[in-house]
């Protein structure tokens, strides 16, 4: 149905996604994750991962330096709060523009190479940004301490309209503070928008072009087709997504630190995307949620909680289980993540979404034969 705006499946997916996201404070509460800070992070890293997937999932270019755009977005947003106004909208507009420009320059250079050379180039640029932000760019970034808002920032636009602020300045939206659940719904709105655009891009002729870069770039080039502008557009778009996510993180918590630009942060978004399922729309978001959930919830489990959990076992047995399981939670949550990740890469290269598909297929096969045959989208 190429004439309709969205196919029925796409529309259902989008609506389902929207409902799931907006209802998160309710359905996540029993899992201990229904508090605003974590919910905001779910949204923010979801946007980051969706954007990353536009580059990695569609074109196959594995960037190890996306955290740089995330960080640039954060710094830009905080500077907008400091210099212009505490309102979130200008900060986010600037953040997206600046990270797009930054991505344009870096992407233009990095996309001259492919494969692991591309990965190392992006990594090198991101590490340079990180190291500079940490050292000589301190006047702009405030180094290790991170850039914060202070009482005596100029905020020229706020001053011009005579708006004064009592207490520690925090970002607002038309005068409404964006902390807590307000911040969550603000971020959720952007995640839904981001998801919508990603869906449109994937289904568009432009998205098809990107996918063909992944499947066979050489053949594309032999047909006289210059793929680089397309790859560069994808790179810039995903850089803008990262900048948007970085800006949102600064909106919900107005501090921009250099750590969020480090290569480990870039590695994290790669993990999220792979875990959820590369090239799928929903997968990266799920991957982001799982990793952030682990980071915040699994890491908070301690021996007391484990002891309570295993208390149904006989004493010696319970102690043993507490000792064993405590290696995998609390400080050791990275171990669980690493193991999960290794298992996923070995057995489910398509990530959690592939698992879901396989289960769905198995269920369908065992149930009544479906009327319509399942068609896999051409890769």
């Amino acid at each position: 149905m190429p004439t309709t705006f969205m196919s029925r499946n796409d529309l259902l997916l989008f609506l389902g996604f929207t409902i799931v996201v907006l209802a998160m404070p309710i359905w996540l509460a029993p899992f201990g994750a229904g508090y605003p800070d974590l919910l905001q992070r779910f949204m923010i890293y979801g946007i980051f991962a969706v954007g990353f997937n536009i580059l990695f999932g569609l074109t196959g270019y594995l960037s190890f330096g996306h955290a740089a755009f995330f960080g640039v977005g954060s710094y830009t947003a905080v500077w907008s709060f400091k210099l212009l106004t505490l309102d979130a909208i200008p900060a986010m507009v600037f953040a997206v523009i600046v990270s797009a420009l930054f991505a344009l320059v870096i992407g233009f250079l990095c996309l001259r190479r492919s494969g692991i050379y591309f990965s190392i180039l992006t990594l090198a640029f991101a590490q340079m940004s990180y190291n500079l932000a940490y050292s000589v760019l301190t006047p702009i970034t405030n180094g290790e301490t991170g850039l914060q808002l202070t009482l005596n920032d100029p905020r020229v636009l706020d001053a011009a309209i005579g708006q004064t602020f009592v207490g520690q300045p925090v970002p607002t939206l038309f005068g409404q503070q964006l902390s807590g659940y307000a911040g969550f719904y603000f971020c959720a709105g952007f995640l839904i928008l981001a998801f919508f655009f990603a869906q449109r891009i994937t289904g568009s002729p432009f998205g098809m072009m990107l996918k063909s870069i992944k499947s066979n770039q050489t053949r594309m080039q032999f047909t006289g087709f210059n793929t680089r502008p397309y790859a560069l557009s994808a790179f810039v778009i995903s850089g803008m997504y990262a900048g948007l996510a970085g800006a949102l993180l600064a909106v919900t918590d107005p501090l921009a630190g250099a750590e969020r630009m480090q290569w480990t942060a870039s590695g994290e978004v790669v993990l999220m995307t792979i875990l959820g399922g590369v090239g799928t729309l929903v997968g990266p978001v799920i991957g982001a949620w799982i990793i952030k959930y682990f980071e915040n919830i699994l890491s908070a489990l301690n021996d007391n909680i484990l002891a309570r959990f295993w208390s149904f076992l006989p004493d010696g047995m319970a102690d043993f289980m507490v000792t064993v399981t405590s290696k995998f939670v609390g400080d050791g949550w990275h171990l669980t993540l690493g193991l999960l990740f290794v298992i996923i890469v070995i057995f489910l290269p398509g990530g959690i979404m592939e698992g879901v598909r396989r289960i769905a297929a198995a269920v369908r096969r065992s149930g009544t034969p479906a009327a319509k045959t399942q068609t896999q989208p051409a890769e």
Partner: protein, 452 residues
């Protein structure tokens, strides 16, 4: 410490509802001010009160973080009336009763800050929002302290800083909701310079290696000012990244730079690595300008001295506190810490312990957990018995003014913990300074902003 969220409070429902009002542009910021004057962030309603411990359990300052955690656990036990009571018995004046705070039992949650400001801030947010922490404390880096106290100001939650030595914590970046018991780099300079002058003379050429963040910068500045006032010359001041491991490329240029003193503005593992490597480069056996080459570590702790081993012998530095002090407070604390953990406490443990007690005492004196009242109780409070002599929590910048120790690496340690000797105790009149020299603005205590 439960995984399930606490039930929806009235305010939380209100806040959720307010999300819907966004966009109309009419939701006034002060919507909640009048009606909720006594309702504040994480007002403890049950029979417990939660401390949020933000500790670097991994990263450059991990060892300090682990020691702080022990101290907090001890302090909380003592506040709840368990154990031998520790410093509760010697704090004067004291409103503490040994039955928790205001009758509520003290519990805690903790978070690993990884010695990174960004992570520290996320951890503090989590402990305030999810775990309902009434107060955040801990940290072992000034970067963390400044980042977290900014957050606490926004949230309206009191932050009792752990180990932070930068002048900025209670200077340029001071906050109404942030309090520091530890001393600062400026005081290190005042205390250390006369001793350096006496031991090494007034004609020295110093070379600084400095950890590249707020604490390093202010310490470099303070020590530079203090030593230049003695007549020393500064050859160069080189910045090294926080958490650097191999310092060799920064050490080689020193050898023939004409400097005869190396000043290491490093802390934690950075210091252990840079000091050990400097000694490996033979710096302590060198002669320069006809004098013995010397190394100075302006801020040093027992944990670092222990980590550096042989290398630290004879080296001068300053400390906030040392377990070998012979006043009743220090003896009592060393004894209860030693009995609990089998090793003497570090200065990080001491400052952490004291901060927990001071907060509890302030709540008792204020008769409420309401932060503006607690802040009032802490500001200008004078107390004694905690191991540093008479101490004043200065109202102007929330800096404790108390005596400072000049220490030297022990040449002949009797145990693995007996690594530093106290050379001199500088009294608090000498290290007091005008709070206005560092600028900054505390910001308001009221109205207490609402957290989620």
């Amino acid at each position: 410490m439960t995984l399930l969220t606490r039930g929806l409070t009235r305010r939380r429902v209100l806040q959720t509802g307010m999300a819907g009002i966004i966009g109309t542009g009419v939701a006034p910021m002060m919507f909640t001010k009048g009606a909720w004057a006594q309702e504040f962030c994480n007002n403890p309603t049950g029979d417990t009160v939660t401390f949020g411990l933000n500790l670097p359990l991994t990263g450059t300052y991990a060892e300090e973080g682990a020691d702080e955690q022990k101290a907090y656990e001890l302090a909380i036990a003592h506040l709840n009336g368990e154990g031998d009571g520790g410093l509760l018995n010697v704090l004067a004046p004291s409103a503490l009763k040994g039955n928790g705070i205001l009758g509520k039992k003290v519990v805690y949650v903790s978070s690993d800050s990884q010695t990174k400001s960004d992570v520290a801030r996320a951890g503090a947010t989590r402990m305030i929002e999810r775990d309902g922490a009434i107060m955040i404390t801990g940290g072992s880096s000034s970067g963390e302290a400044i980042a977290v106290q900014g957050l606490c100001q926004e949230m309206g939650v009191i932050f009792m800083a752990g180990l932070t030595h930068s002048n900025d914590t209670t200077g340029k970046d001071k906050r109404r909701y942030g309090f520091r018991h530890f001393f600062n780099a400026y005081q290190s300079g005042i205390g250390l310079a006369p001793v350096l002058g006496q031991s090494y003379g007034n004609d020295r050429r110093a070379y600084h290696l400095t950890a590249d963040y707020t604490w390093g910068w202010t310490q470099e500045e303070s020590i530079k000012a203090a030593t230049e006032a003695l007549g020393w010359e500064t050859v160069a001041a080189v910045r090294t990244p926080l958490g650097a491991t191999d310092y060799s490329q920064y050490l080689t240029p020193i050898l023939n730079s004409g400097a005869d003193v190396l000043i290491l503005n490093h802390y934690g593992l950075d210091m252990v690595n840079s000091l050990t490597q400097a000694v490996q480069f033979g710096m302590r056996d060198r002669q320069a300008n006809g004098k013995d080459f010397q190394i100075v570590t302006p801020l040093i702790s027992e944990l670092m001295a222990k980590g550096a081993g042989e290398s630290v012998k004879g080296i001068f530095g300053t400390s906030n506190w040392h377990w070998n002090l012979q006043d009743p407070g220090s003896i009592a604390f060393t004894k209860s810490f030693g009995a609990a953990y089998g090793s003497p406490p570090s200065q990080a443990a001491h400052t952490a312990y004291v901060q927990a007690l001071l907060y509890a005492d302030a709540c008792e004196r204020a008769g409420t957990f309401y932060p503006p009242e607690v802040i009032k109780a802490l500001e200008g409070h004078e107390f004694d018995g905690m191991g540093n002599g008479k101490t004043l929590y200065r109202a102007e910048d929330h800096q404790c003014i108390k005596s400072v120790l000049v220490v030297q690496g022990n040449e002949s340690p009797t145990s693995e913990y007996d690594v530093l000797n106290v050379v001199q105790e500088i009294d608090r009149e000498t290290v007091a300074y005008d709070p206005s020299i560092f600028g900054g603005d505390l910001g308001p205590a009221e109205p207490a902003p609402m957290c989620a």
